[in-house]
């Protein structure tokens, strides 16, 4: 085990994957010689050559279009979109092509080997265009998998699993954890399962659910609540699509209460899907309304970032409301 930050863990996963399979190719804007604006792809071009790690022209629709073709040919592309906010020019290639390739051809051709990596999320004074959390858009696309790690250990294990999974995966990296999150990471090759939530802490009175950087937030809120004698179960969803409704429902059947926290605007956010599903499965167990603590229904702001964010205080207040319902 070595101590790494999340960027180092991602870099390590890429090195591991490229060593393991020469069909793995890594590309995107500035990812080549320079190693990416966040340096997640540092030294890959030096190690594996320009053929396998390269800069692309500045065109997200082109990057994903190119990656779709490359995947359908049998290579294993790992394409980087420099910021989650800039993935939308590629939305058509993802929803109409990546996700439907296998289905429309009856399984003759697929983009199963494709992994798209992109940093996302706020809390870094990035304003409208360096802060968005677009996971819900991709959660409504059958055929895609969506995966989000919360620490370096997960980042390496989930990224390796994503690259090797035979389905296209959008791998979203909470960028405010890139350097802030540091932890022990095994040096060897390992994978963590896709589609499985992680019960971070067991508890009795209420279930708190989040993913990525927001897991820290609900942990902090839980600490506050524990002082009031409220025992919180904490779940990190890890995979947004397909998601682990089973683990979440089992937890809610036990606690009777659920709070979902995410950064994205509330309306149409992924919390709504979780709420709707859990309500169907746990109707008779619920002791208070499933509650969403989310971003406001505004573009991501700058000066009011603190006020916008679904922080530990808002979560703590929601916990009290649920428990005292």
């Amino acid at each position: 085990m070595i101590k790494m930050n999340m960027l180092q863990a991602i870099n390590d996963a890429l090195v591991t994957a490229m060593n393991d399979d020469e069909k793995v190719m890594v590309f995107g804007e500035d990812v080549g010689h320079f190693g990416g604006v966040f340096r997640a792809t540092s030294n890959l071009q030096q190690k594996f050559g320009k053929g396998r790690c390269f800069n692309t022209p500045l065109t997200e629709q082109g990057i994903i279009g190119f990656a779709n073709g490359l995947a359908s040919q049998g290579s294993v592309p790992v394409a980087e979109i420099q910021f989650g906010d800039y993935i939308f020019p590629a939305f058509d290639q993802i929803i109409n092509e990546t996700a439907k390739f296998r289905y429309r051809s009856g399984g003759q051709f697929t983009c199963g080997t494709l992994t798209i990596r992109t940093p996302y999320g706020g809390g870094i004074a990035g304003g409208l265009y360096h802060s968005q959390s677009p996971e819900a858009f991709f959660a409504h696309i059958p055929g895609m998998k969506v995966v989000i790690p919360r620490n370096p250990y997960q980042a390496k294990g989930l990224l390796l699993a994503s690259i090797r999974d035979d389905n296209p995966v959008l791998f979203m990296e909470p960028k405010r954890l890139y350097r802030a999150s540091v932890g022990e990471v095994p040096e060897e090759d390992y994978e963590l399962p896709l589609g499985k939530a992680d019960v971070v802490k067991e508890g009795e009175h209420i279930t708190l659910l989040a993913w990525g950087a927001q897991v820290d937030v609900i942990e902090k809120a839980a600490e506050m609540a524990e002082k009031d004698g409220i025992s919180c179960e904490i779940i990190d969803l890890r995979s947004i699509l397909p998601w682990d409704a089973h683990t979440v429902s089992e937890s809610v059947k036990k606690t009777g209460r659920l709070i979902i926290n995410h950064e994205a605007p509330q309306t149409g956010g992924f919390a709504s899907e979780i709420s709707a599903t859990v309500q169907e499965r746990c109707f008779l167990y619920l002791e208070s309304p499933i509650t969403r603590v989310c971003g406001l229904d505004t573009p991501y702001p700058l000066a009011h970032e603190k006020e916008y964010m679904p922080d530990h205080l808002k979560t703590y207040e929601a916990i009290k409301r649920c428990v005292n319902y």
Partner: protein, 397 residues
């Protein structure tokens, strides 16, 4: 680090110098004159009688297929069809110049290339009747063919998406050392999409062995190319990307064949893209949902009928003494019957079982699709008459 000095390499003028459409002249390669005789000074392609014959038959095959299927659509037997008449030389002639290992990525009007590759009548029919023998498992509208064995990528409706994909596919072929290229067909309308720009530029920068083959047939549904672009066709754009470009008479199969041969050679040996613009005309309606009388004149169509690519090639073949009239008549008749028979057969084949509604979304159906499928099966069992195509064949699980 290699220094960049693009400014140093550029010529200088001391007065305003406007570059405009007229600045370059991009002539069109033509070997056969409209009457089918070769220009005396033309560079003749090296084409065997056998190849010429296969091209000739494929062009006729496709004409028959188109004619019959447009009819079948009118009779309500299929929901949709899209004919390629007028463009047979472009698609058949280019496909003939490729190796069978080359990947074909098409738009939708390239049944000529597919037939040349060896797609059989029954395969066409199974796809168009969405039955369980369709390799797409009945999931796409008619004419969205695809066949992995023939290296023909399954067609998808969103326009131009295959263009950057072709660059990526070709990059993979190069990295794998396959000695094969990708050809990517598209219309002059699709060339307005952002994906066109992305694909051509990426292919150039990343040295991808791909032929971008534009069928400039004058229309995108009702929109004439004069409302699609102002430049000198699509060929002029090749220049902008630094891509080697050939303009060809798309109604002259020999010219198309020669241009594609040359393009393939360049793509493969120089590891780079080549752009071909085939100047042609969509003689047919856009599709069976369209009626062109609303947007173009009979006279215009007539002018182009006189340049018919099939007739032009036939005249040349005749001049070579390569056509046996009797055998040809038989071939046409036989094709007609084959199409009718295959149609009858295909329309009687069941659609896929209900499980194929959720298969292939992922490599394996995840829990939520399994749940949805089993609820659906339960429901169909409750109302079998409402879902007659699948109710009788639900597997118990």
């Amino acid at each position: 680090m290699k220094d960049r000095n693009h400014l140093f390499d550029v010529g200088i003028s001391h007065t305003v110098n406007i570059i405009d459409k007229g600045t370059v002249d991009i002539p069109m390669l033509q070997i056969l004159q409209p009457d089918g005789s070769a220009h005396s000074d033309a560079q003749m392609p090296d084409m065997s009688q056998e190849t010429a014959h296969k091209i000739f038959q494929t062009m006729h095959y496709i004409r028959v297929l188109d004619e019959r299927m447009v009819g079948a659509q009118r009779q309500g037997r299929i929901s949709f069809y899209l004919a390629c008449s007028g463009e047979e030389a472009s698609t058949v002639g280019s496909a003939a110049a490729l190796s069978e290992h080359d990947m074909i990525m098409s738009q939708y009007r390239e049944q000529g290339a597919l037939a040349y590759r060896g797609y059989r009548t029954e395969q066409f029919m199974n796809q168009m009747f969405s039955n369980k023998l369709d390799p797409n498992k009945g999931r796409q509208m008619p004419i969205h063919y695809g066949d992995k064995a023939l290296n023909f990528m399954t067609i998808s409706s969103p326009l131009a998406t295959q263009i950057p994909q072709a660059a990526g596919y070709a990059y993979g072929q190069k990295m794998a050392g396959n000695q094969a290229i990708t050809i990517c067909y598209f219309g002059e309308g699709a060339a307005s999409e952002g994906d066109f720009h992305a694909g051509l530029n990426m292919a150039a920068v990343l040295s991808c062995p791909v032929i971008f083959f534009c069928r400039n047939n004058g229309y995108a549904i009702s929109t004439p190319s004069s409302e699609q672009f102002c430049g000198d066709g699509i060929a002029a754009r090749g220049l902008g990307y630094g891509i080697k470009t050939i303009r060809v008479d798309g109604n002259d199969v020999l010219a198309v064949y020669l241009a594609t041969q040359k393009a393939r050679e360049i793509a493969l040996t120089e590891n780079c893209p080549v752009l071909i613009e085939a100047m042609t005309y969509r003689l047919a309606a856009h599709s069976t949902s369209d009626d062109p009388t609303g947007y173009r004149s009979k006279e215009e169509e007539q002018k182009w009928r006189e340049k018919d690519p099939v007739q032009r090639f036939e005249n040349w073949m005749k001049s070579k003494g390569w056509i046996n009239e009797e055998q040809h008549k038989q071939f046409i008749e036989q094709t007609r019957q084959e199409v009718l028979a295959a149609m009858k057969k295909a329309e009687q084949v069941d659609i896929c079982e209900i499980d194929d509604l959720v298969n292939d979304v992922y490599d394996m159906p995840p829990w939520h699709l399994q749940e949805q499928l089993s609820q659906l099966k339960k429901h169909i069992r409750l109302y079998p008459d409402a879902y007659p195509k699948t109710a009788g064949r639900i597997r118990h699980d």
